[in-house]
């Protein structure tokens, strides 16, 4: 047998062995999976992650079919996002008696960011896909169906049906770690602008960290920048006194940051709202992450937070399909020119740390504790956050919306 051969570094395909007496009509090669106990096979399945690959495993054999529902680690990569285009015009005209703030928010909602209304995956039997109208008919059309209703036949005309993540996940009974990945971030931002957010939700927003920069200069290009735009830039991160320059308030810098903040919170609360049916159905979840392929925004929920949502349902915002954002305390840090250890330079770097104004009594967190903010972002942005947090802190408040 092959085990007597030397251990080669290169990959070799198993040679078919012809032994007398073997049933030669069935395959003569060995199914190595037969040697593994179910527990080991499950370990392998738990490494696969991709829900579509797991779906295909389901039809490979009876054994695979019976084991896949026990997989505890699943990644759903969403192909398309359906937004309810009709809702924006409706929202803008609604309820003029609200304060200026609410109208502002409604306008922002309608224009800049179209929160997700539904997630869909283009799946289904092979049909003629040459119709290029697939993209236009797949979106809008007033579907507004939300996660659960994805199986409606909105897109039959384009030749494909789509399935919602809820549907795709119903075969799994014991998911502990679930990651859903959107094809891209919801926030349309100018190229060159950096904007990242991470939000943790229970029944409502627990905390949110936002990192932004008006431009990002790669190492090398920063050297040629004479820093003319900002009188306070003298070179090096620690040399200015950490204050926000006066120009920031007048040149639209502050307002832009506020828009970033509100947009990020809207995107986060919309994602949270969408997850309800999945959370209700999968009670074994330990961790739920809703991210996007651009790395723009990450929504996280831990086991305790998921439980909290099941016990205390979320409050929905009246105008739109998203969770109500509570009244907030925000801390903001700013650096006109921030150089990271890897040479990258962030211009107009801004960090915002957001928490609800009303903290539950059980929270022992010191309000000045900022370690969670620095930990919110992957490198190199984690370093940027750590640097920004050392600068002067500005406090803001925001009403619920």
């Amino acid at each position: 047998m092959s085990s007597l051969r030397p251990d080669l570094k290169g990959r070799i395909w198993p040679e078919p062995e012809r032994e007398p007496g073997l049933d030669t009509e069935s395959e003569v090669e060995i199914d190595h999976f037969d040697r593994l106990p179910d527990s080991l096979l499950l370990i392998v399945f738990n490494k696969i992650g991709d829900v579509k690959a797991l779906g295909r495993c389901c039809v490979v054999s009876r054994r695979f079919h019976d084991l896949v529902p026990q997989v505890d680690n699943v990644v759903v990569r969403v192909d398309c996002v359906i937004s309810d285009d009709d809702s924006s015009s409706g929202a803008a005209t609604a309820d003029k008696n609200r304060g200026a703030f609410s109208n502002f928010v409604r306008f922002v909602f309608g224009g800049i960011v179209k929160p997700l209304q539904a997630l869909g995956q283009f799946l289904g039997p092979k049909k003629n896909l040459s119709t290029s109208t697939a993209s236009s008919s797949g979106f809008g059309g007033g579907s507004g169906a939300g996660l659960g209703g994805g199986e409606e036949d909105d897109t039959e005309a384009s030749g494909v049906t789509h399935h919602s993540p809820t549907q795709v996940l119903k075969n799994f009974n014991e998911i502990r770690r679930l990651r859903i990945e959107l094809p891209s971030g919801e926030l349309g931002i100018d190229s060159g602008v950096l904007l990242r957010w991470r939000a943790d939700f229970g029944s409502t927003l627990d905390n949110c960290a936002i990192l932004g920069a008006s431009s990002v200069l790669s190492p090398g290009t920063a050297k040629s920048d004479t820093g003319g735009g900002d009188a306070l830039y003298v070179g090096g991160n620690g040399d200015d006194n950490g204050n926000i320059p006066e120009s920031f308030y007048t040149n639209g810098g502050l307002k832009l940051r506020v828009v970033w903040t509100i947009s990020s919170l809207i995107a986060a609360s919309a994602r949270h709202y969408l997850l309800q049916p999945i959370i209700a159905e999968h009670r074994t979840l330990d961790s739920l992450v809703l991210a996007d392929a651009d790395g723009q925004g990450v929504l996280c929920m831990s086991r305790e937070q998921l439980e909290e949502l099941r016990v205390k349902p979320l409050s929905a915002s009246t105008a739109s399909r998203r969770t109500l954002v509570p009244a907030l305390n925000m801390r903001l840090w700013y650096a006109p020119h921030l150089e990271l250890p890897n040479g990258v330079v962030l211009k107009g770097a801004t960090l915002v740390a957001i928490r609800p104004s009303e903290q539950p009594a059980s929270t022992k967190k010191d309000s000045s504790d900022c370690s969670w903010v620095s930990a919110a972002f992957e490198e190199p942005y984690g370093t940027a956050a750590k640097l920004l947090v050392k600068r002067r802190t500005y406090c803001l408040e925001m009403n619920s919306f």
Binding site: H32, L40, C58, K126, S135, L254
Partner: protein
Amino acid sequence: MASAKVFVLRTCDGETFEIDESVAYVSETIKNMIEDGFGHDLIPLPNVSSKILLKVIEYCRKHVSNFESSKKTSNGDEKDKDNDSWKKEKEAVPEVEKDAEEKARVEELKEWETTFIDIDQQVLFDLLQAANYLNIKGLLVMAAEKAASMIRGKTPEQIRETFNIKNDFTPEEYEDIRKKDAMNDFTPEEYEEIRKKIADNHFTPEEYEQIRKENAWAIE
């Protein structure tokens, strides 16, 4: 340092292997056996062949040496996490150097792992079983990930071909299941084509300009 303790393992095909204590302890199973007092004579491993044990020992040795060098490159980093090194610009240089060393170490480890796990199915599955029996988490994860990567991206038929798995459904069962559970039996290439036909759903921010003209914000 005192001379490291050495243990002798014996495989199912009668071969013996000598390994240092630190290498032996990478296996939780062997560690427990030693701590229970069974390390004085040979430690028998009736479930593991010599060919596979060689591979396992290679992994354990690499694991130990990698751990030693990681302590050197990230030692300072770990200690400085919460204190003042972020403030002192002067400290930035050693930090960056340590970072570079750490990066190089991680890169090298990745390359080593890729070569290590590039093995045929027979060896891979043997390794998976051995790692499970010997309770070596890192090796188990590596082997499982390799097996999973061989499954990802394939159609059911390709999966069956790769692993010689028999389709033991009846034709009726198969049709039924395929409709209910499979949800997608496109090949990865077909799937990519479909994705490209779906336009990105990006939103432009012209409205930003308008917003900027509205509303002032109170700052304390």
